[in-house]
């Protein structure tokens, strides 16, 4: 395919490939997200001893599209006396912030396109402060929920929004700190490089081996960050109706819904990347495309974990949640950081 290079130059050629890559990545991610929803319903059904949706398509396989159609055709209801601009802004903020981090995750190793000199990693954008970028975008994600809660002009929404904001701020610290341990070990913020360092030794160089405590803290904080059971206080049905999105319907509700699952997906990707070696696996060096499957496989395991937890665990009370976050999780994260730093200082990486 050197003709492409010859036609438009290497930069643009790479750009074209990246554009295609981005679109493929987003489509894949959104598809996975859509099917995660289905999977959740099915798995929950199994856990609860029932079947779950199985009528649309064979085994309910077309259910996500049916849902989407339903969302599109439902009536838009805007509450009276709501703050309109923010009311509309909030779901877009939520989905945007959920989707934006995807661009830095390495889906696979460097791919050499056969017949050309083009070699590029399976990552949309690779830069120095990728991890910080992820954290930054995650931290902005809270606005969607908070603003949605506030602008609905509904006390349940407001309560949900406030709770959500408090919860996200609280657990973000633990989340960030638990990742700092890995950063200390790898000495870089570049996710691609972090994954690269975890190769070899048949999985024994995964950071989970060196950072078990960090991983557990991350896992807990990540679940809290995504407002999932058992930390789903912002949308506790029994207390707050549907929390911050009580007043949302139709497509805007769909956006929130999607944002939640995309968030689940991204934190799972981050966990995979940081602790479970990303795309590393047997045979990747020979067949680089295999890395994509390894990566997505690990992510899907995490997604299953989410569903599993939802099916089995009860919900925290709000004060328990805050106490747990500030008084247990954060000190543990700091402890982990101190231990890691001490070890790194005395024994090197």
């Amino acid at each position: 395919m050197d003709w492409l290079n010859n036609l438009v130059g290497p930069t643009v050629a790479r750009g074209i490939f990246q554009f295609i890559g981005i679109n493929v990545a987003f489509v894949v991610v959104l598809m996975i997200v859509a099917y995660t929803v289905l999977a959740e319903r099915r798995v929950l059904g199994f856990i609860q001893g029932r079947l779950g949706p199985n009528r649309v398509g064979p085994g309910g396989i077309l259910q996500p599209f049916a849902d989407l159609l339903k969302f599109i055709f439902k009536e838009e209801i805007v509450p009276d006396k709501s703050t309109r601009f923010i009311y509309f802004l909030a779901p877009f903020l939520a989905i945007t912030c959920a989707l934006m981090p995807i661009i830095v995750y390495p889906f696979g190793p460097e791919i050499h396109i056969p017949g050309t000199r083009i070699v590029f990693p399976l990552v949309v954008a690779r830069f120095d402060v990728a991890l910080l970028y992820v954290l930054a975008i995650t931290s902005v994600g809270v606005y969607g929920i908070a603003l949605a809660g506030w602008s609905s002009n509904n006390k349940y929404s407001l309560m949900g929004g406030l709770r959500s904001a408090a919860q996200l701020i609280s657990y973000e610290l633990s989340l960030g700190l638990s990742l700092v341990g890995v950063v200390l070990l790898s000495g870089t913020l570049d996710l691609y490089e972090i994954v690269g360092q975890q190769g070899g030794w048949h999985g024994l160089r995964w950071n989970i081996i060196f950072q078990p405590l960090g991983f557990i803290i991350y896992l807990i904080s990540a679940i809290a960050e995504t407002n999932r059971v058992p930390f789903d206080l912002p949308e506790a049905e029994t207390e707050l109706v549907a929390g911050f999105h009580t007043e949302y319907s139709a497509l805007k509700f769909a956006l929130f819904f999607m944002a939640e699952y995309v968030n689940m997906f991204t934190v799972s990707m981050l966990a995979t990347t940081m602790f479970f070696g990303g795309w590393q696996g047997p045979g990747v060096s020979t067949f680089p495309l295999l890395g994509i499957f390894y990566f997505l496989g690990k992510v899907i395991c995490f997604l299953f974990l989410y569903i599993w937890l939802r099916g089995t665990l009860p919900r925290f009370r709000f004060d328990q949640l805050m106490n747990f976050g500030w008084k247990f999780l954060l000190p543990m994260a700091i402890l982990n950081l101190i231990i890691t730093a001490t070890v790194v200082f005395f024994f090197g990486t």
């Binding site: 931290s139 406030l162 408090a166």
Partner: protein, 226 residues
């Protein structure tokens, strides 16, 4: 080509920043102001990226947009701040004064900039071809933990002080609750209902304070308290 792209990006971001800033000042709803300010911060983060400072850009988002402004929004929502009401104020003259003073300030700043621009250019390091490393995490970390270690440590003390200060400020003073007995037939020791009787922990079952007081014959004290 690249220059034009950068130029367009700069113009867009600068326009966003100025527009958001103006909106922030113009808005009477504090939440809109806050959202506008977040816009400014985002635009500035983008500008930092154009200045080859990705680390600061990320930190800008994390600290300002992700922490400070979340806190502000949180407070606005918590206090449910109303819009600034238009009402006869004594300080009406401050608005034109502020605009005038700001204009003077800008004029002075522009004057200085003009002279700075006019001054003989310093030996520009930009002339060198190799890409800048100043914005990278490693160089910032090196600077922070070598040359600027003391300021860094001092800021940590500052943070600690702010932590303590904020907690002290925000903590509710231990006010005596208005309703001494939580509704719902609670069982409380007598000394909790009537603190004057220290040491008397006779259990009291009641739905409201008034009922507890009636049970205990504390009506006189209730009246005197009010």
């Amino acid at each position: 080509m690249s220059d034009i792209l950068t130029f367009i990006v700069f113009i867009l971001l600068a326009g966003l920043a100025i527009g958001s800033a103006l909106a922030m000042v113009a808005q009477r709803n504090p939440l809109y102001s806050a959202i506008s300010l977040i816009g400014v911060f985002g635009a500035l983060a983008g500008l930092y990226l154009t200045l080859a400072a990705p680390f600061i850009a990320a930190v800008q988002i994390i600290v300002y947009a992700g922490a400070i402004m979340v806190l502000v929004v949180f407070v606005i929502m918590l206090l449910n701040v109303e819009e600034e009401v238009r009402r006869p104020v004594r300080l009406r003259y401050l608005v034109p004064t502020a605009v005038l003073l700001a204009a003077v300030l800008f004029a002075e700043a522009a004057f200085i900039l003009f002279y700075v621009n006019d001054a003989p250019a310093p030996p520009s390091p930009l002339a060198t071809a190799e890409p800048s490393t100043t914005g990278l995490t490693a160089s910032i970390g090196t600077g922070l933990f070598t040359t600027y270690l003391l300021p860094f440590e001092i800021t940590s003390i500052l943070i600690l002080m702010a932590l303590v200060g904020a907690m002290t400020l925000a903590r509710r003073t231990a006010a005596r609750p208005q309703d001494l007995v939580v509704p719902g037939a609670q069982v409380l020791p007598l000394q909790m209902v009537e603190p004057a009787r220290v040491g008397d922990d006779t259990p009291v079952r009641s739905d409201t304070t008034a009922e507890a007081a009636r049970t205990l014959g504390l009506n006189e004290q209730e009246q005197t308290r009010e």
